[in-house]
C-alpha cells in the first residue's frame, strides 16, 4: 500500500465513522512548508464524542493494527495511538487525541477543509499559523525545521504573527520562534 492509499483509507474511514479530525505531521507541514517524505499518516482526533477513537481504531483493522499500549508525548502529555500498516512499505498511522488544552482547542476550532488532488478527496488541516505554533511547542529537530520552513515559505508578512507570538509567549517558545525567523534568508 502506498502512502496516498493509506491516507485515503484513514480519511475515508474517519469520515465514515463520523469522527472529527485534522491531518497533522508531515502532511500538514508539507501543505505550507517544504514538502518532505514521511511514513506516517498523523491525525489529531476529537474525543468530544466518547468512543470515537476506539471506533476509528476498530474500523481501520485489519489493514492497520494498533498497539494496545497508549503513549503520551512528554511536551504536552497528549495521548497517542500508534498503528502499523500491514504489508509493505512499513507505513504507520498515528492518532493523537484532543485534550483539554487551550491551544489544542484553538487549533482544532480553526481547522480548514482542503482538497488534495492526489487523494481525490478533501481533508482537514490546521492553519499555517497553528502548524508553526505546534511545531515550535514540540521542539524536536524536525519540528523546528518544519516551523522555520512554514514561516519561510508562507512569509511572516502573510501570516498572523500576533496570533503566533501570543501562543509562543504562552508556551515559552519565543526564543525558538526568533531563531526560526532569523534563519530565513533574503529571497529577493
Amino acid at each position: 500500500m502506498k502512502l496516498e492509499e493509506l491516507a485515503c483509507l484513514v480519511i475515508e474511514t474517519a469520515d465514515k465513522v463520523g469522527v472529527d479530525f485534522m491531518a497533522v505531521g508531515a502532511i500538514a507541514a508539507g501543505a505550507y512548508g517544504i514538502p518532505r517524505s514521511t511514513r506516517d499518516v498523523d491525525l489529531l482526533v476529537s474525543v468530544a464524542v466518547p468512543g470515537n477513537i476506539e471506533r476509528l481504531i476498530g474500523s481501520l483493522s485489519p489493514e492497520v493494527e494498533f498497539d494496545p499500549q497508549i503513549v503520551f508525548d512528554t511536551a504536552t502529555w497528549g495521548r497517542r495511538h500508534v498503528g502499523k500498516c500491514q504489508g509493505v512499505p512499513p507505513l504507520k498511522v498515528e492518532l493523537f487525541e484532543t485534550f483539554d488544552d487551550p491551544f489544542v482547542n484553538s487549533e482544532f476550532a480553526r481547522r480548514r477543509e482542503v482538497f488534495i488532488p492526489m487523494l481525490q478527496r478533501s481533508t482537514w488541516l490546521p492553519t499555517a499559523e497553528d502548524v508553526v505554533v505546534q511545531k515550535l511547542r514540540w521542539g524536536r529537530s524536525k519540528d523546528l525545521d518544519d516551523a522555520r520552513d512554514v514561516l519561510a515559505v508562507q512569509g511572516p508578512e502573510t501570516l498572523d504573527m500576533d496570533y503566533i507570538r501570543g501562543w509562543c509567549r504562552e508556551h515559552g517558545t519565543m526564543e525558538r520562534l526568533q531563531n526560526a525567523l532569523d534563519q530565513i534568508p533574503p529571497l529577493d
Binding site: Q69, F72, V88, P90, L187
Partner: protein, 94 residues
C-alpha cells in the same frame, strides 16, 4: 564538535543559505495542492530508494527480505527520533 571541515567556512555558509533560498523560491512558486502531492511522491520515492539500498546492503534479490531490512531500519529510526519524547505513563502528581 566543530562543523564539517571546509577551507572557507564563510563561503560554505553562503552556499548553504543560497541552496536553502533556491529551494524556498521553488516551493513558494508551487500551489498548496502541488506541495501536498509532493509529500506523497517523495514518500513513495524514498521507500523505493530504501528498498534498493536495503537489498544491496544485505546482498539479496528477494524483495521481501529487503522490506524486512527496511522495517528494521525504520524501527531503529523511530526509537532514535522518539527517544525521550514519548512515555507510557503520565508523571506522578507532585
Amino acid at each position: 564538535m566543530s562543523a564539517a571541515p571546509h577551507p572557507d567556512p564563510a563561503a560554505l555558509k553562503a552556499l548553504q543559505e543560497e541552496l536553502y533560498a533556491e529551494e524556498l523560491r521553488r516551493v513558494r512558486a508551487m500551489t498548496e495542492s502541488e506541495r501536498l502531492n509532493e509529500v506523497f511522491e517523495l514518500s513513495d520515492h524514498q521507500f523505493g530508494m530504501m528498498l534498493a539500498g536495503a537489498m544491496h546492503r544485505i546482498g539479496t534479490t528477494d524483495e521481501s527480505e529487503g522490506w524486512e531490512e527496511v522495517r528494521r531500519w525504520m524501527h531503529r529510526l523511530d526509537r532514535t527520533h522518539d527517544h525521550g519524547f514519548y512515555a507510557t505513563e503520565l508523571p506522578s502528581a507532585p
